[in-house]
Amino acid sequence: MNATAVAHVVAILLIIVGVVMILCSGVSLAYQDPLPSLYALLMSGLFTLLVGTVVRAFTRRPLDLNWRDGMGIATFGWTTVVLFGALPFIFSGTIRDVTAAIFESVSGFTTTGASVLSDLESIPKGILLWRATTHFLGGMGILVLCVAILPLIGVGGMQLYRAEVAGPSKDRLTPRIASTAKLLWGVYMLLNLLATLMLRLGGMTWFDAICHSFAAVATGGFSTRSASIAAYNSSYIEVVMIVFMFLGATNFALHYAALRGDVRRFFKDPELRLFLGIITVACAIVTLNIWHRVYPSFWSALRNGVFATASLFTTTGFGTGDFGEWPATSKVVLLLGMVLGGCVGSTAGAIKQMRIMVALKRILLRVKIFIYPQASIRVKAGGQPVDDDIVTNILTYVVLYLVAMVIATILMTLFLPDILSAMSSVIATMGGVGPGFGLVGPTKNYACIPSAGKIILMLCMLLGRLEFFSIMALFYPSFWKR
């Protein structure tokens, strides 16, 4: 790994983050926030910018980045960015505990939405905006943003892109990665813009509309209200949120195709169809399960059931009803959705539908081979054969994900009293969802977990967002050799 090259690109990321912080401080000024939080944002921004500029000045611009550099940049870039992203919370005094502040920042950038804050209405607007902005930056990926807006060298850009946009998606919208990254960010911005307008029409203030669209399209989950979406008590807003959470969890290549007039690809895409199917079934189960038992009227059962299912299956994590108090069947279904995740090439987290689909098909084929030992069989996705290498990678990933989940759950039982809380805290952070069940349920938050537990969950969030391999590679000694 080329250390100076990695430092150089990480410095560029810091410059971007610093500039965005300073922009947030402008909003803070406009909303006449208390001076300490305004200064906090401004000082954090200037400090981040300064560090970025200095490191950038003292390192050489890389002529070429290899695959390892890309992974190094992804891991170190994300770690550095989340550390600096915690500064506004610390400086403003919003979160006094440093670990908790970093937790909030990691949770924001990884679009998890697990929070340590409770009384959101008392928090200054600038800080809330920064909190939502971490979702926005992390959603499509800050490295992808970097590739899109900075004329980095072609090969280097590709390595950055591949390190951040992991997963089995081979969609390349254009031959050159820089233009693909531009298109992806363009589509992402467009979705955010639409979401903001639609939410504003539903009666939200501009500020709330922007923050919630950042959180919905990035499938994050930070709200500006303590009661989350329930605070608005508007079915229109809920429908809009469901639509944009779903669009955020859909492969962005499909959005691009649709924008170019090929809407049919939406309905032909096997992964999206599977995702839709699973969500529909889950909505039905949850709604029927909570009808009578929690909500006497069918309509409120449907409204709350569908919202919670969409919110958790897209790994967003907004809440309307307190699904922590729902019956066990609903909880299991929702928990399962938090493990499955959205589509590849989207802002959603967790294992992702494409992998689930390929893994399931592989298992079924295994059974078929058991019956017909001489059969020659290929795994296919949407009529296209999937390379055996890719199938193996996908199975490895699924196993790795589940093993990591089990290990982290065992560790979390040291900090949380019951298995449900421990397990759901891991599932909710690794999958980028946010709220879990029990002590980390939708009406509670992560503040109660001790620092060591928070650190484990932060690692879960980063591993889940960067899809394990680039972080794990750092623990291989040969990775560090040039």
């Binding site: 695959w67 072609g154 090969v155 850009g157 590709m158 390349r172 254009t174 031959p175 050159r176 990665i177 820089a178 233009s179 390379d387």
Partner: protein, 448 residues
């Protein structure tokens, strides 16, 4: 510009690399998924797996969006078919690689241009021409024709006894000679230096300069009086390249000898050649080389085997050959062979052909472009458009990005040396060297 390349062999891969460096959109088609995966890991391009001459695969690669299709697989027929389909799809420019010379020499009515193929190139043909050029300018690392052959760009290695080492360019003893040639680049190790007045040469530098043919010869006589001259050329290997080179040499005043191992092929060669002596034998055999009279001759190894070619050159050099040249098919070998100084020059047919294709790619605003094997960057031959920032300004007033050197001007068939006071006019043809990082900038200066 979107370029569709068919065939991920040596030629396809190197062409993709070049075009990728210029930030063009490249789509590469090949049958072999492993080869594609390897290239995809290195280059920022889109790859499509499949037969390049299949309409289905071409459709998948969105051939209709392409501005240029370059078919460089090993099969002439597949290349031509792919280009014909691209023509049907309305692609404006098509380039096909062929190995059968019949396609190059076909009468006008049967020409491939008639089915819409703009450029038909052959690796061997391009390479043979390059070899001939080197043999005409012995002792140079490489030489390239510019401005209709009126100007020559030449690279030489600076040896220990070279007069170039005496002082920086500005205070050179023989300014008279320097006035007519222009240094465009110095390669020191892996570093590219753009020469200025205070540039000093070091032993082992490769110096590249441009000038009129006669001025270059005069300069070489002064800078390197004892450079190797050879009146005789011994060619090892009577394959397409060796045979073609021998044919070309028959048009010059040099004597040529061709060594071919295979009896039947040797027979065929002697049928096609008049003055050349064809010897049946092994070029790795001392006695055969002695019979061919390799001592004090120039030696060119063009057997199909890269390793054999290198060994044959070593042997020939040991036996007193003045100058040794080898055909190296794997472009990756070229820098290794050069670094180890195993032989005087390595030429690579794929690179020679890519040169020809790149000339064509830039055809819109550049009349011709040349690539050196060892010098990164490009030499271009451009016409100054009327609206450009350059027209009507004196050379010294033109703000040129660092890395761009104005090497020569052709006006009314007359070569002018671009001194500071010379005014560039619209319509002038200029030869320009551009270092790799500024190649793209030229486009903005010269685009109409």
């Amino acid at each position: 510009m979107r370029v569709l390349i068919i065939g991920a062999g040596n030629a396809g891969r190197n062409l993709a690399t070049k075009l990728c460096e210029e930030k063009r959109d490249v789509v590469l088609i090949d049958r072999d998924p492993d080869a594609l995966a390897e290239i995809q890991a290195q280059l920022d391009i889109l790859t499509v797996e499949g037969e390049g001459s299949s309409p289905v695969v071409l459709e998948k690669a969105e051939v209709r969006k392409a501005d240029l299709v370059v078919a460089v697989t090993d099969s002439d027929e597949a290349n031509i078919l792919a280009c014909v389909i691209a023509h049907a799809a309305g692609v404006p420019h098509k380039v096909a690689r062929v190995s059968n010379r019949d396609f190059l020499t076909a009468p006008e009515q049967l020409n491939l241009e008639r089915v819409g193929i703009d450029l038909v190139v052959s690796q061997k043909e391009e390479c043979a021409n390059e070899l001939l050029n080197i043999l005409r300018m012995p002792g140079t690392l490489e030489s390239v024709d510019l401005l209709d052959g009126k100007v020559l760009a030449v690279g030489i290695r600076v040896h220990m006894d070279s007069p170039l080492l005496r002082s920086p360019l500005r205070t050179f003893p023989n300014q008279e000679i320097l006035r007519f040639i222009r240094f465009i680049a110095v390669v020191r190790g892996s570093e590219l230096i753009v020469p200025r007045g205070d540039t000093e040469f070091l032993v082992g530098d490769d110096a590249y300069f441009v000038g009129r043919r006669e001025d270059v010869a005069r300069f070489l006589d002064w800078a390197w009086p004892e450079r190797a001259m050879a009146d005789k050329v011994v060619i090892a290997g009577g394959g397409d390249l060796g045979l073609r080179l021998a044919q070309l040499l028959e048009g010059t005043d040099k004597e040529s000898v061709l060594i071919e191992l295979d009896e039947e092929r040797a027979h065929d060669c002697s049928e096609l050649l008049d003055r050349t002596l064809v010897i049946k034998g092994d070029a790795l055999d001392r006695e055969t080389l002695e019979n061919a009279g390799v001592s004090k001759a120039a030696f060119v190894a063009t057997t199909h085997d890269d390793e054999n070619n290198i060994i044959a050159c070593l042997l020939a050099e040991k036996m007193g050959a003045r100058f040794t040249l080898a055909e190296i098919n794997k472009p990756e070998y070229v820098p290794i062979v050069d670094e180890l100084s195993l032989l005087d020059r390595a030429v690579s047919p794929p690179l020679s052909m890519i040169n020809a294709i790149l000339h064509f790619v830039r055809g819109k605003y550049v009349k011709e472009a040349a690539l050196f094997h060892r010098l990164p960057g490009e030499l271009m031959d451009l016409v100054v458009p009327a609206k450009s920032k350059w027209a009507g300004n004196a050379v010294k007033d033109i703000k040129m990005p660092i890395g761009i050197v104005l090497a020569g001007i052709l006006r009314n068939d007359e070569v002018l040396v671009p001194t500071g006071d010379l005014v560039v006019l619209a319509g002038d043809r200029v030869a320009i060297f551009a270092a790799p990082q500024v190649v793209g900038k030229l486009e903005s200066i010269f685009r109409r």
